[in-house]
């Protein structure tokens, strides 16, 4: 156990825990755009920055990204100091210049009193905030079908050579986890289109509803040794089947008890 102070309150945390998790658990709100529970912290959006100090630092303090900073004994954390708020405002102001049309960014910026960017809007700006969640989650899934390409201000998320990505299985992990919802996909019953590729959607053998893509199912059954038949039935029908089985078992037991 590590004891530290957050905004004047003494709290306890486990060794190795990151500040962001501890602050949030304790009810302190910290915005974060590049953080995702399923993947390692990244430190790109800089919104989760907090001010830290220690008694022995003699008045010196530091600004760190809480998503990446492991708790330390006797740390004094300020999640909303003047500088921290100013930093978040600046970051959101800069983000707004790049993606003025993103409802998510607009809302978050408004919370910090930024209703319009004070900078020159970026030509060709889209709503991607380059948080890297899509590419990192894709990598975590084992596909690495997309990545960031280029550097600096021209960096974009794209498949290799900006062509339809051969390693994509159409799982939607990128699109569904994108904080600003900028990765489009189309499901039209039997097929799914994403990143310029068209995938076959497996139809549930019981109810006929589309489930996951055939490529995703094949990959899962290969890498996770799940029998291919498992994916022929949708989750709902799986649940129904299980409840029926459970019901029958309960019936047998009742019969047997008599």
């Amino acid at each position: 156990m590590v004891e530290l102070t957050i905004n004047g309150r003494v709290v306890h945390a486990n060794e190795g825990e990151m500040l962001l998790a501890v602050c949030r658990r304790e009810g302190f709100r910290i915005p974060a755009l590049c953080h995702h529970e399923a993947i390692e912290p990244f430190g790109a959006c800089r919104l989760c920055m907090v001010e830290i100090t220690k008694k022995e630092w003699k008045g010196w303090s530091n600004y760190v990204t809480s998503c990446l900073y492991p708790v330390e004994k006797n740390l004094i954390v300020l999640t909303d100091s003047t500088k921290v708020i100013e930093l978040r405002k600046t970051v959101l102001d800069l983000q707004l210049a790049r993606c003025p049309n993103s409802p998510e960014i607009r809302q978050l910026a408004a919370e910090y009193g930024v209703n319009q960017t004070s900078y020159e809007p970026v030509v060709d700006g889209d709503n991607c905030i380059l948080c890297g969640i899509c590419t990192r989650i894709c990598e975590k899934m084992g596909f690495s079908a997309i990545s960031t390409v280029g550097r600096g201000h021209d960096k974009v998320v794209a498949p290799p050579l900006k062509e339809a990505p051969p390693d994509c299985v159409g799982c939607l992990a990128c699109s569904l986890n994108c904080p600003t919802h900028v990765i489009p996909y189309i499901d039209n019953g039997s097929t799914r289109i994403i990143w310029g590729r068209t995938f076959e959607l497996i139809k549930c053998s019981k109810c006929g509803k589309p489930t996951i893509t055939r490529d995703f199912a094949e990959s899962l059954s290969k890498t996770k040794s799940i029998p291919a038949e498992y994916f022929e039935v949708c989750d709902e029908c799986h649940r129904r089947e299980i409840s029926l089985t459970m019901g029958s078992i309960a019936n047998w037991e009742r019969e047997a008890a008599k």
Binding site: G43, A44, T90, V91, L94, S118, R151, G152
Partner: protein, 618 residues
């Protein structure tokens, strides 16, 4: 080549190398450093070889002809030096070679025409060591540059190379080595100025294995080539430094990360590593000791940010060279998440000398907090551009005037930019500052890795800030928002100033934004990114205000704010008409010319060619 099994055998081997070298009393050293090569020195060396291979000269053999590393005085290149007299020939051309052979090598006569001419006294100076450019320098990291062939291990050993390694392995414990390096006070030459001894001690103290040693040869600063000169011209001193480090910190594997644009450095390092392996100075049981160490040369990822430690280690590991946040230092968790010592090329090249002569000796050079010397690449509007090495604490004035020979064309000095693209510009009032880590930082600039750009009165400081910011915007890896978007906006606002579109309030806004970029960015690039703006606005605020209030660029550089006109001094020579690619100038021969402002592109070509001071910039 023999495989050397002990320090004693190395001493014997050295005797042979010395004997071999002493056969050549007369030597011809052809500089094949980056500057001279660019000026065609390879052709000069080839011409020497061609003539000498068919010509017998008494007391001279072709083995005494050497393609050496950079002599530093690139301004005067291609350079040829004839030892033992140290006769220093400048601006040598291929057609001069036959004459040098006949007159100087065979005839022992000096060719006046090729000697260096002191611009102050207009006298010719024959010897290398008497030239002011050299006499104010102290060469430690550059000690061998220009003295030996680019990568010849026997020559290196003959002049004392690998003696420090032998001493380390035979007489010193790892702790003693670290103590010596700590005592020297050596601080990292790659920019941050971290104490090398401390870094080594931390690494050595970590139980977890393996440990790695990496040499940072990324040298991304535009215009800087100190590390390149060492890697190409004296690779063995870097290798020796690394082996000593590996012994001190208990590492068996090292990497040299070389910038992609330095193919010759890669070739020479690899050659040198091969030679060291053959002699048993690298590999298993070095010099018969228990210590084993090998080095792999790793090619850079081609981006400026790859020189940053965490990005570099990712790149060495084969990943994309993007910095990661490191609240755990790389000396604890570095390459492959293992304890890693990362040192710059110049830092490592100093190590053998520190072991040889002792940490205390080294600590007496320079200032008390910045010991030793520092190499700089002196470029810009200075008379003597090139590579220099001076004791820490040398003043900027000494560098600019005594070594650099003052400003070109006798123009006034305006600023010196140090610290690479994210360094800062210091004005004339700071010329008496001593150059060391802390003084430069305090003055709003930084040491960086040693780029030094001299600017004259025709330089616009807003334009300078704009230039470096645009470099940094391009080189930002784009990972974190303050750097990627913040520097982009800061650059855009600087452009607005240079085009007369900014207000005074914008300056304050830029200062505030800079502050946020500094505290908000993930890595050193972003954290130091606003420096070009901050240092110029600190020392040249009036120049910014002049652009804003009066829509005027006092230096006559910012295109949107200037006008080229022709004044009464015009004698109608027509030079400007020919130079203008936009057909904006009209006028008959021997009659005053005229610039049509609508057609003028403000490229300044007319200004550059006019010999009569007849073009006015307003």
């Amino acid at each position: 080549m023999m495989h050397i099994e002990s320090p004693k055998q190395l001493a014997e081997y050295r005797k042979k190398c010395v004997a071999e070298e002493s056969k050549y009393t007369r030597k011809v050293l052809v500089c094949c450093g980056p500057g001279c090569l660019a000026n065609g020195s390879q052709k000069i060396s080839d011409e020497f070889k061609r003539i000498l291979s068919s010509k017998k000269i008494k007391g001279f053999s072709i083995e005494a002809l050497r393609d050496t590393g950079c002599h530093g005085y690139c301004e005067q290149g291609p350079l040829v030096i004839i030892e033992p007299d140290g006769t220093f020939y400048t601006h040598v051309k291929v057609k001069d070679v036959a004459e040098i052979i006949d007159e100087t090598i065979a005839g022992k006569k000096v060719i006046e025409r090729l000697l260096y001419c002191d611009p102050d006294t207009a006298k010719k100076i024959e010897k290398y060591s008497d030239i002011p450019f050299y006499s104010h320098q102290t060469r430690i990291a550059f000690r061998n540059l220009g003295r030996v062939s680019q990568c010849d291990i026997n020559q290196y050993i003959a002049i004392g190379g690998y003696q420090a390694l032998a001493k380390t392995l035979a007489d010193m414990t790892p702790e003693q080595v670290i103590k010596e390096v700590s005592a020297s006070g050596l601080r990292g030459r790659g920019g941050a100025g971290f104490h090398a001894g401390k870094k080594w001690a931390t690494c050595a103290g970590i139980q977890e294995k393996p440990h790695y040693v990496i040499c940072n040869g990324d040298e991304g600063d535009p215009g800087a080539f100190m590390d390149r000169a060492i890697m190409e011209g004296d690779p063995h001193s870097v290798i020796e430094g690394m082996i000593i480090c590996s012994y001190a910190v208990g590492s068996n594997q090292g990497y040299i990360y070389v910038r992609e644009e330095y193919p010759l450095a890669v070739v020479n390092l690899q050659k040198a590593i091969e030679q060291a392996r053959e002699l048993g100075l690298l590999g298993e049981n070095i010099l018969g000791s228990d210590h084993s160490f090998d080095i792999h040369v790793s090619r850079g990822g081609g981006a400026f940010v790859c020189g940053e430690s965490s990005a570099l280690m990712k790149s060495v590991a084969g990943e994309v060279g993007e910095p990661r946040a490191k609240y755990i230092r790389s000396v604890v968790k570095g390459l492959f998440d293992k304890p890693t010592v990362l040192n710059n090329v110049e830092s490592l090249a100093n190590i053998p000398v520190i072991i040889d002569k002792g940490g205390e000796w080294f600590s007496k050079i320079g200032t008390s907090t910045s010991t030793g010397t520092k190499a700089f690449s002196l470029v810009g509007k200075v008379n003597n551009s090139g590579l220099i090495e001076v004791p820490m604490g040398t003043t900027l004035r000494e560098i600019v005037y005594d070594i650099g020979g003052g400003i070109r064309d006798g123009r006034p000095f305006k600023a010196v930019q140090t610290g690479g693209p994210s360094g800062g510009c210091l004005p004339e009032s700071k010329l008496d500052l001593q150059v060391d880590f802390d003084t430069l930082t305090k003055a709003g600039s930084m040491m960086g890795s040693g780029g030094m750009i001299i600017m004259d009165d025709r330089t616009c400081m807003v334009d300078v800030a704009k230039y470096f910011l645009s470099f940094l915007v391009d080189e930002s890896c784009g990972k974190c928002v303050p750097c990627r978007e913040g520097l982009y906006q800061l650059h855009a606002m600087t452009v607005a100033v240079s085009e007369g579109r900014a207000t005074e309030a914008d300056i304050e806004k830029m200062e505030k934004l800079s502050d946020m970029i500094v505290i908000g960015s993930l890595c050193g690039l972003g954290k130091s990114g606003p420096n070009p703006f901050l240092s110029t606005v600190m020392y040249f605020r009036d120049e910014y205000l002049e652009h804003i209030r009066n829509k005027r660029c006092p230096a006559g550089v910012c295109r949107a704010l200037i006008q080229y006109t022709i004044n009464e001094k015009c004698n109608g020579c027509m030079a400007c008409i020919t130079a203008c690619a936009h057909h904006a100038i009209t006028g008959k021969k021997k009659e005053p010319h005229f610039i049509n402002q609508e057609l003028c592109d403000k490229c300044g070509a007319c200004y550059a060619v006019c010999q009569h001071d007849a073009i006015t910039i307003t």
